[in-house]
């Protein structure tokens, strides 16, 4: 994550602006019920992609923390998890709006929706757990362990359990999520850049948050010295 260069941020800006414009204007398949809301694919779905990737990054740093406990690795893991949780909350709320106008309800007891909600609660507990420690090392170690558990518990809730039953949501009940859209090369032209762009934005925000935390730490150490 800690690329010292900045060119990838320019790429992220380009991809996101392209997603916003092309996502609204490029032709999409004409489907009943979905209508133009199919364009949400470029905004709602990348949240979950980005979340998964950034949460996996968080686990990576947690594992590295447990091998070599440094404050830096704890900050990296914590900030990555926070960005992932933000994206998950945005994913849930955008999905809820989409559901209102296609399924006719803000929320329904669908395995995919409930699974995602439970997974977000598990991550909410991560934040609560973190804030309940006074001792820095204890906080870092226990939240690293919990973070690994949270990822292991959340991923099946997002991606495996909903597929075992019937669901309204695409990508459940055995049907892969993108079979319908994958056939449409016009949508792929926007969807893939969108996923990459939003994921890069997640890394960018995380990097800025981490650098701020590192600075805070440095200032604190200087004051002690």
């Amino acid at each position: 994550m800690f690329l010292k260069t900045n060119w990838w941020k320019a790429v992220a800006v380009l991809l996101l602006l392209y997603t916003a414009v092309a996502g609204l204007l490029m032709p999409v398949p004409r489907l009943a019920i979905l209508n133009e809301s199919i364009r949400n694919l470029y905004f709602h779905v990348p949240m979950w992609f980005g979340m998964t990737i950034i949460l996996a990054t968080s686990v990576y740093y947690s594992i590295r923390y447990l091998r070599t406990p440094t404050l830096q690795l704890d900050i990296l893991s914590h900030e990555s998890a926070k960005t992932g949780i933000y994206m998950g909350i945005i994913g849930l709320s955008t999905g809820s709006i989409w559901a209102r106008y296609t399924w006719g309800t803000w929320w329904t007891n669908d395995p995919k929706l409930n699974g995602a909600a439970i997974a977000m609660l598990i991550y909410g507990a991560y934040l609560v757990l973190r804030s309940s420690f006074q001792d820095e090392q204890q906080r870092a170690r226990i939240s690293a362990i919990y973070n690994i558990f949270a990822f292991a518990a959340a991923m099946p809730l997002f991606f495996i359990l909903p597929r075992l039953t019937d669901s309204l949501h695409p990508g459940a009940g055995g049907n892969p999520a993108f079979a319908k859209y994958d056939l449409d090369s016009n949508m792929r032209l926007v969807f893939y850049p969108a996923v990459i762009g939003w994921t890069m934005l997640a890394f960018w925000v995380t990097q800025v948050a981490c650098r701020l935390a590192f600075l805070k730490q440095k200032v604190y150490e200087k004051q002690l010295a």
Partner: protein
Amino acid sequence: MLLLAALLLPVWHALAQAPGADMPEMADALRQSGKIYVVVAVIAVVLTGLLIYLITLDRKIGRLEREIKD
């Protein structure tokens, strides 16, 4: 140049597309009246604003980092 291409390519693509008959309802009327571009412009401005904010934050933190180093 690249930025312009990223913005204009989809606009051109959308203009080239003609709506067919007997199809599910889409936002054709919006496009015909041209007003979908107002929304696109608004979203582009919002996104640009947020990204500029992120860039300035990034640079401010960069400056602080250099300051603290010496």
